[in-house]
């Protein structure tokens, strides 16, 4: 009640939060607030820069390697001057990139949604695996059902399976306080071994005609998702891409336009204040984990129905779509738009560095696939090292601020 309006408090001193962030989720929350889209760009650029140094160390030109990778992603299709056979190949490459990015958007959301509720879902991989198991089981059974119904059934059951699987971790946290990082990691192994058993020799879902290969039955032909771009024989882009886009929209709507999303965000930012607001925090944990698992299970289903059509024991064991989803969410800063672009980035990297795109004189093939992992690891490292990125960012800002006219040095 002062007589003239009090000015807004200065941004640096006396701003509200004064407790130092202690754990990863809190520190990451700080990072999220601090730099907008810029820190994500800095993080990715740093990772590419160091990835380039690795290429340089192997005696190759990083610029031409990156150009080759870029062309391998098919993104050159966007340039109007690319035509003829180059354009045909670019289109095929871009289809592959989007095919890879589609499940990454969903597993990215699986991590992002839990994060908004203050939890770190490491279990996207297990939830994805459960989705593929249920998807291939439903898709390869009941061949008599009409195609659209079969597709819907497979997608719904696989998503629910993922939701249930993640919900277990949420329930453990809500009831006995088991940390979700630990329980989701353990659940990943449960999914890993269930899948290995189910598709292994003599397993319940192993191929019924060819009993010597550890692989599932093919799903019914009429349960394949429609390919809208490219040749279905050559793995064109299926409509699961639009399902993923729809999931991104749903993610934003649920978080920002529903009371459920309000509760999830309140719990994620400050569980004690949420409790004070009458929110059932334990139930929010279960719900948020289940929705996370729903996204990952959906990713599994549309990979099966869209282009894989079958699952082998080795696929279960070698897949890392769920783990890459962690990097996608971190880089995408848990926003729908951010997850879209970072899924595109990682999908492009995976596709662009695959051996068939790179000639050995540009790039050592044994390094090609690993470069994706190196860049992915560096991105996670830099996000973990938020202090460094923040420091560089604040410093850059301060340098700019220091150059404003009227600033006078003291003691000169």
């Amino acid at each position: 009640m002062t007589e003239a309006p009090t000015p807004a408090p200065p941004p640096l001193p006396e701003a509200g939060t004064d407790a130092a962030p202690v754990n990863f989720v809190e520190r990451y929350g700080l990072l999220q607030r601090s730099g907008g889209v810029a820190t994500a760009l800095i993080t990715a650029s740093l990772a590419f820069l160091i990835g380039g140094l690795v290429v340089l160390a192997t005696g190759h030109n990083p610029l031409s390697a990156y150009r080759e990778i870029f062309n391998g992603t098919g993104l050159n299709w966007l340039f109007p001057w690319v035509n003829g056979t180059d354009r045909t190949f670019a289109a095929m490459n871009l289809q592959q990139t989007l095919l890879k990015a589609t499940p990454l958007m969903l597993t990215g959301l699986a991590v992002a949604f839990a994060f908004r509720c203050g939890m770190f879902n490491i279990g996207g991989q297990g939830q994805y695996t459960v989705g593929t198991i249920v998807g291939v089981w439903v898709g390869s059974s009941w061949a008599g059902i009409p195609g659209p119904a079969h597709i819907v059934l497979a997608i719904v059951l696989a998503s629910l399976a993922g939701a249930f699987f993640a919900g277990v971790a949420g329930l453990l946290k809500a009831t006995v306080g088991a940390h979700e990082v630990i329980s989701t990691i353990m659940l990943n192994w449960v999914a890993f071994y269930v899948g290995s058993y189910a598709f292994g020799l003599g397993g319940p879902l192993q191929n019924s005609t060819n009993v010597s290969v550890p692989i599932s039955n093919d799903i019914a032909t009429n349960a394949h998702l429609y390919v809208f771009w490219g040749d279905p024989i050559l793995q064109g882009l299926h409509i699961g891409f639009f399902i993923a886009i729809g999931a991104l929209v749903a993610y934003w709507v649920v978080l920002n336009r529903t009371t459920l999303g309000y509760e999830v965000r309140a719990v994620g930012f400050n569980a004690e204040a949420a409790r004070y607001g009458g929110i059932n925090v334990a139930r929010s944990y279960v719900t948020a984990m289940a929705i996370s698992g729903l996204f990952a299970g959906l990713a599994g289903a549309i990979d099966i129905l869209g282009w894989q059509f079958r699952v082998g024991q080795l696929d279960v064991q070698a897949s890392n779509i769920g783990f890459t989803g962690i990097a996608v969410a971190l880089l995408g800063r848990n926003t729908a738009v951010g997850v879209f672009f970072s899924a595109l980035l990682f999908g492009g990297l995976i596709n662009g560095t695959s051996g068939r795109h790179l000639s050995a004189d540009v790039f050592p093939p044994q390094l090609a696939g690993n470069l994706t992992l190196i860049i992915q690891g560096l991105i996670i490292l830099f996000i973990g090292a938020d202090v460094l990125v923040l420091y560089l960012w604040q410093r850059a800002k301060r340098l700019r601020a220091g150059k404003t006219p009227g600033a006078v040095e003291v003691g000169t």
Partner: protein, 513 residues
């Protein structure tokens, strides 16, 4: 001491701008040898900015710093430390798992043979300094086992170890109990006697009057005046701080109690460790009445508040809200029944600091129309409601979209108050509603609580500030070790209340404390 003492530190024409605001506008400040100089101002007046400039954490846009007459140019706090300036921050910079001695010598460790940390020498040196200034502290105690007051002493020792002769204390009493504050003042007097010069930052008038030799008042980044303590009064200082006359005690008409709205009988509550801390509390608050619950911190007040608001299950006893049996209700049921709650800790519990003000104002009502319908949230309506409430409760420094964490403490508290009062509660449980607020904001909160009382609400005021209890309450209850040990009219003397708060019986108060 006295006006003839040499000036050891001079800040001249200090100006610091942040985007959209001038935090310090040509501020002059000087510190003489052997004096305690209080820097007084409301939250956001620019006190911390000025001291952070002096400590080398910010660079001023204009102005100069002189130490003992010599121009100083600080680029980091390291330069300030070398110039003999020590600072004790509000939030301590100590490592909990390390010992007192280890913390004090950190970064300037005594060594043996050049490389080995000499634990014994460190402890000896710490003991030596502690004895010189008559501190009682065990150099080998771990920080995590010390009380807040002791930790603050370690911070002061850290500055002394680094040979500081100018000591800056930033709101040092904000984290202390009244007893610890007393001890701190004793320490400051001894430091002064030993030749230190001290800058004491505060927004509490009585503290400045008690400890300072001179007082400088800042208001909205501008220095208003520097005056000697002699002749200054709380009223004159408050006027300088706020810019108008402030009523330090609100005028109150006697309440007109109606029918009982909050009835508690035989309530027993356990704390997080499973110990019984509320041991059979019975109390009644009527409509149109403020009942003050006085007591020393940690006598079961927080657990009692939790039980009354459904945030903690009571072990036994009954709670009736407007005649309706409500014991065992969840937090949500309690707030739907009509219990408003101003939490003791507004940053940890009362607000989601990362939420916008609009979202915070809906924290207790987002499930209901018009905020939402069938699970759909209407952000536009949240914003419209926030715009109305921010105006009505005079919240400064933010629009509905502002993050709650960006507001000053007083304005944050107004947001909490607005939310709880707008829900039209029958019963309002107010936990230390003016904690950490400056005089202007305190006046606002007090007036609002009284007008809500006159609206016919039943208000339970739980506070550690005796002044507040005495000036607002219609009846005063005293809680001690989980029991209500006395009931007093608001005309009771502070001494009598204090006695009851430390164990009841006349004459036995001293030992029980």
């Amino acid at each position: 001491m006295g006006p003839d003492a040499p000036v050891v530190l001079e800040l001249a024409g200090i100006t610091k701008r942040f985007p959209g605001i001038i935090a310090n506008d040509h501020v002059d400040f000087d510190l003489r040898a052997h004096e305690v100089h209080a820097l007084l101002g409301e939250n956001g007046a620019g006190k911390s900015t000025l001291m952070n400039i002096l400590y080398g954490l910010y660079r001023p846009d204009e102005g100069e710093i002189r130490i003992n007459g010599k121009l100083a140019h600080f680029t980091s706090s390291k330069d300030a430390i070398e110039a003999g300036i020590g600072m004790v921050h509000q939030h301590f910079m100590l490592i909990p798992v390390m010992t007192v001695a280890e913390n004090i010598v950190l970064a300037v460790e005594p060594t043996r043979a050049g490389v080995l940390f000499d634990v014994g020498a460190a402890a000896d040196r710490v003991r030596e300094i502690a004895e010189q200034f008559k501190f009682t502290i065990d150099p080998y105690a771990r920080i995590q086992n010390l009380s807040v007051g002791q930790q603050q002493r370690v911070e002061i020792l850290k500055a002394l170890y680094r040979k500081a002769d100018i000591l800056i204390l930033d709101e040092p009493t904000a984290v202390l109990t009244p007893q610890e504050a007393r001890e701190l003042f004793g320490i400051l007097q001894r430091l002064k006697a030993e030749g230190m010069s001290i800058i004491f930052i505060s927004h509490k008038l009585n503290e400045a009057l008690e400890i300072a030799d001179r007082i400088t008042v800042l208001r909205r980044g501008v220095k208003i005046d520097t005056i000697p303590r002699e002749g200054a009064t709380e009223a004159s200082l408050a006027r300088m701080m706020v810019g108008r006359d402030v009523l330090l005690t609100v005028e109150k008409t006697p309440g007109v109690p109606g029918k009982p709205l909050l009835e508690v009988a035989g309530l027993e509550v356990f704390d997080d460790r499973g110990l019984e801390v509320v041991k059979g509390v019975s109390l009644t608050v009527h409509a149109g009445e403020i009942v003050g619950l006085a007591g020393i911190d940690g006598n079961g007040q927080e657990e009692l508040i939790d039980a009354l608001t459904g945030l903690r299950k009571a072990h036994a006893g009954s709670i009736r809200i407007a005649g309706e049996e409500s014991s065992g209700d969840s937090a949500r049921e309690m707030l739907e029944t009509g219990v408003g709650h101003i939490p003791v800790d507004r940053q940890r519990r009362g607000l989601v600091l990362d939420f916008s003000l609009a979202e915070n104002l809906a924290l207790r009502d987002f499930r209901h129309a018009p905020n939402s319908r069938l699970g759909w949230l209407f952000p536009n309506r949240l914003v419209a409601r926030a715009r109305k409430l921010l105006k009505e409760f005079d919240v400064r420094g933010g629009v509905p979209q502002t993050r709650a964490g960006m507001l000053s403490g007083g304005n944050q508290q107004k947001v909490v108050l607005a939310r709880e009062i707008d829900r039209d509660p029958k019963v309002l449980v107010a936990g230390q509603p003016t904690r950490g607020l400056d005089v202007g904001a305190i006046e606002f909160v007090h007036r609002r609580l009284l007008s809500e009382r006159d609206e016919g609400r039943a208000i339970l005021l739980v506070s550690l500030e005796l002044d507040e209890i005495l000036s607002l309450s219609d009846r005063i209850l005293v809680i001690y070790e989980g029991r209500i040990v006395g009931e007093f009219p608001p005309t009771v003397s502070e001494e009598e209340l204090g006695l009851a708060m430390t164990g009841g019986g006349r004459g036995s108060g001293e030992e029980a404390a």
